[in-house]
Each structure stands twice: as structure tokens, then as C-alpha cells.
Symmetry: C2
Subunit: 258 residues, 2 copies
DNA sequence: TTAACATTTAACACATTGTTAATTAAAAGG
DNA sequence: CCTTTTAATTAACAATGTGTTAAATGTTAA
């Protein structure tokens, strides 16, 4: 391999090069239903998909048309795939300053009938109210939110079913093992709001248990109670608000309880 | 963006395409020194690097020559980057069947002076004895193992310093939060051998504490004591051997102790 | 005035952890 | 043969965290 490597130094052109480099984005949001006043919300994790048009702008039939797909597009040489994802989110949805994370590369030969196209996949977390803004301004594009249950019934374009499966795995892990839940919540939140976010991706008994979770949140090193700040969003009884603080979160399966 | 997307369907060639797609591999091993007989080993995490040749096989001066770099090479359209990594490890080092994991993509404009080259980075875990086999068979290639401390002093090719930093972050996280430590250990191992592996990447007091760790290993759901199997590798007193078993490892920072 | 209800506080039994100390089994040296 | 050495094992205790059940709180709405 060493000789291959050195030969390649000055003439990459003797190798076949990719036909394209795309950035795809799994846009997650959590819809929150307040079943009644003064009660904690019921939350559902949803993924935004776009429906591929029947024809392109020149009137030719479109590949994988009619199927639902992840938003995305080609990356240019002047940007990273992450920057492209950010740009596309802004161009398409007017959403800027969103939490974006790269989670996988899709380069299986034959994954895209158009050629050798490498997809760099990201997930984005968008609070619900940012999406509603968007829908109001641009309802021409076929955009829809799908819950995890609804996703499994859909026919999806290219290998997007795989990509979405991986996105779900990653956001689940990150929600439970990092403080990224912050991105779904307002600056200050109650214990039951955080709990509702976590329960969209886990059925962990220790998180379902209200008393235990309300007691636990007080001792987490990366969350603090905001003194004097209460709300009645989730209960008639004024309820303590919390916020995330910067603190390193280490964790090992060898020291945790099982 | 939607229009860009649909226009691109049938003619990717109107966009500039990448000049190359490479697969780089951070090959980790743990060297184990037995300071004396009947004592637990001292382990050090090391990374294998190759030194870039002064000239290529045609006698032309080589780009980034003399610098240490991650092994890797160009991906072909018939394979995934992960398969390419596997192939390159086998071609270069005769190492097959190794644990490989993709951890990042490097596509910063200008990262490679040869053009728009996207690197897909993986880490590999190779038990020490597999590397010694290799060195004996092919000592012509400039290959060396660097500890984490030694790495920071080295001048590295391209953006490999960044890539290595990320590789270290990922392998540290994976060693503590998944059962990948298995890949560094023999089928059966003592508590102190597992402990030594973990201590190459953490200074967690709970893992440093011998008594506590020896007690804890017995209750981990993904490790079992092998009945009747003992060794004197690490102590005069015949010592219990353990092995990993398949078991799901879930974990949340919201339920763990802090 | 009363019922309803999410939250908060309290209390207890139980499990896990940090810590210290004692015990065990084999090797090595005199 | 006896003694020392050492990693592993076992034991024991206090401190801390968890699961569970129960009661108290503060507000709304009937």
C-alpha cells in the first residue's frame, strides 16, 4: 500500500474520483401537546422529511420522485459538509444557528443510481416553534413531520431508511449521554419537561419515576435550580425551574449502576 | 434549495466534484509491560504512524515528506471507505479481521494541497502481538508506535494532528462507554488486566481503586466470571478469569451517580 | 367550600460505594 | 524449612443513593 500511496501523491487524477459529495440532514423536533392546562406536556420526537417532486424545474421526471427523503444537497469545494448542511437549512427553512452534528457517511457502492455519490449525514435539533415559523412562510414545499412509528411505514428515497435509523440511534444516545436535551428545551425548564424530552427516546424506569426523577435532578452536576424562578406551565403549584450549566459529563459503564 | 436539489438529479457533472476520497486509519494498540513476575501489567495506549517517504516510487520528491502520518489511501468506487481501510490494513500490515470504526470526516477546504480530497477517518484496535508479527515481516517501512505524550511533540502531515485528536476522544469514550475494551484483551482476563486497559484512558478514582473495581466487576451485567478458570499471570495467588458476554449496555447521565 | 392534581417533602428499607483491615495462596530467598 | 513478600480475596462499617409509599402544599375550578 505504501507504493500506491506515494504514487498517488502527485496525480490523483489517475484514479477515478467521486461524482458528487452531498450533505444530508435529519431534522429532529419534539412536538409538545398540552393535554390540559396546568399539566406536564406529552412530547413526541419527530423527523422532518421532504417529498421529492414529480418533475424537476425543467419538467423532466425526477429520480425517486414522490418518495419522502431527507433534505440535503451537494457540497461545494469551498465549504465543509457541515457548513453545507447549515446553509441548506437556512436556504430552505430560514433556520439558522441550530445545533448540528455529523453522525455518519454513506458510501455503499450503488446507493445512488446517479453515480458514485458520497453522503455525509448530520442531524439537526430544531425547537418546535422554529418549524412553525417556517411552515407559515413556505407552505409550497411538501414538508411533513413523522413520528418514529410513522417512519417505519414510509417508503423512502435512496438509502435514507438506513440513514434515518442511524440518526435515531445517535440522537437517542446523545440525548441520554450528553446534555444535548438542552437544545429541545427553553432556557429554563421544569423537571417534568426535561423528563418528557427524555421519555421520547427511552423507557428507563428510573426516568419514568416522577418522585425519583424530581429528586435526582437536584443533584445532577450539570443542572442547577434557578433560585426564585418558578412557573405554572406544568402545574397549578408554582414549580421550580432548572437550567443546564457547563460541566464536564464523564461516564463509564464500569462505574455506573446496572 | 429544493430547486438546486431537483436540478442536480440528472446532471451531477455540472457541479465540481471531489478530486479524491481517502480512508485514513488510526491504528491503536496497547503495549503491556510486565514490570516483574506475578504482578499486574502496566499498559500504555499507543498509535501506529508511518513516516512519509522522501521520494515516491518514480524518484520525485514527495509531498509532506519526512512527516509522520496516519496510514491510509484512496477509496475506489467499488468499496466503502471502511472496506478500503480494512483492505489497506491487510495489504500494508497483513492484519485482517480487526475491529474498525468510522469516527469522522475531514473536508475542510485546503486541508490537502493536492486538491479537494475528502478523508474518512477510522480507528482500528490491534492487539499488541499482531503488530509484532507485522514488524518482523516488513521492517523496511518506517513505522513507529507513539504514546499520547509523544504524539503532541510530533510534526504531522496534513491535518492529521486534528484527526488524531478526534481519534483519541472517540476511543476514550468508546472504551469507557462500550465494551470495546474487549478488543485489547485476551478472551479471558483478570480484573487487573481490564483495569489496566481502562486506566490508559482515564484517571477515574473509582477505576483506580483496586478493591472497589475487583468487587464491581462481579456485578457488571456484560461480564461474567468463568467458573474454575484461574491464572497466575498477575499474581502468585491464582486469580479469577472473566470474559465479556453479549448484553445490551444502556446508560444515561440522568440516572448515573456523579 | 371542596375536589382535583402536579409538585414537593418526608420517611424507611435496601443496595451500592469508599475505606480500612484481615486473610489467602503461592513464590522467592535465606 | 521458615519467613517475607505480594496480588487477590473477603469482611465489615459508615456514608450515600434509590425505590417506594405516604403525606403536605398551593393553586385552580366547580
Amino acid at each position: 500500500m505504501k507504493s500506491n500511496n506515494t504514487e498517488a501523491q502527485y496525480d490523483a487524477s489517475r484514479y477515478r474520483t467521486p461524482d458528487g459529495y452531498t450533505s444530508d440532514i435529519a431534522v429532529f423536533t419534539i412536538t409538545s401537546e398540552q393535554t390540559k392546562a396546568y399539566a406536564p406536556p406529552k412530547m413526541v420526537l419527530k423527523l422532518m422529511l421532504i417529498q421529492r417532486a414529480e418533475h424537476d424545474t425543467e419538467g423532466n421526471p425526477n429520480i425517486e420522485s414522490g418518495k419522502w427523503a431527507l433534505p440535503g444537497g451537494f457540497v461545494t469545494p469551498e465549504e465543509t459538509a457541515c457548513a453545507a448542511a447549515s446553509r441548506e437549512l437556512e436556504e430552505e427553512a430560514g433556520i439558522a444557528g441550530i445545533h448540528l452534528k455529523q453522525f455518519g457517511v454513506y458510501d455503499q457502492p450503488g446507493r445512488d443510481p446517479r453515480g458514485w455519490i458520497i453522503s455525509n449525514a448530520h442531524y439537526a435539533i430544531v425547537p418546535e416553534y422554529r418549524l412553525s415559523e417556517r411552515k407559515a412562510s413556505d407552505d409550497a414545499v411538501d414538508v411533513e413531520l413523522f413520528s418514529v412509528a410513522e417512519l417505519s411505514e414510509q417508503v423512502l428515497a435512496f438509502d435514507h431508511k438506513n440513514i434515518i435509523q442511524d440518526a435515531l440511534t445517535h440522537i437517542t444516545r446523545d440525548l441520554l449521554q450528553t446534555t444535548v436535551a438542552k437544545q429541545f428545551l427553553p432556557e429554563m425548564f421544569t423537571y417534568s419537561e426535561l423528563q418528557a424530552v427524555l421519555l421520547t427516546v427511552t423507557d428507563d424506569k428510573a426516568i419514568q419515576n416522577d418522585q425519583a426523577f424530581a429528586r435526582k435532578i437536584k443533584s445532577l452536576p450539570f443542572i442547577e435550580a434557578v433560585k426564585g424562578q418558578k412557573t405554572q406551565r406544568t402545574s397549578k403549584l408554582p414549580t421550580q425551574l432548572y437550567r443546564f450549566i457547563d460541566a464536564e459529563v464523564k461516564q463509564s459503564i464500569y462505574t455506573a449502576r446496572h
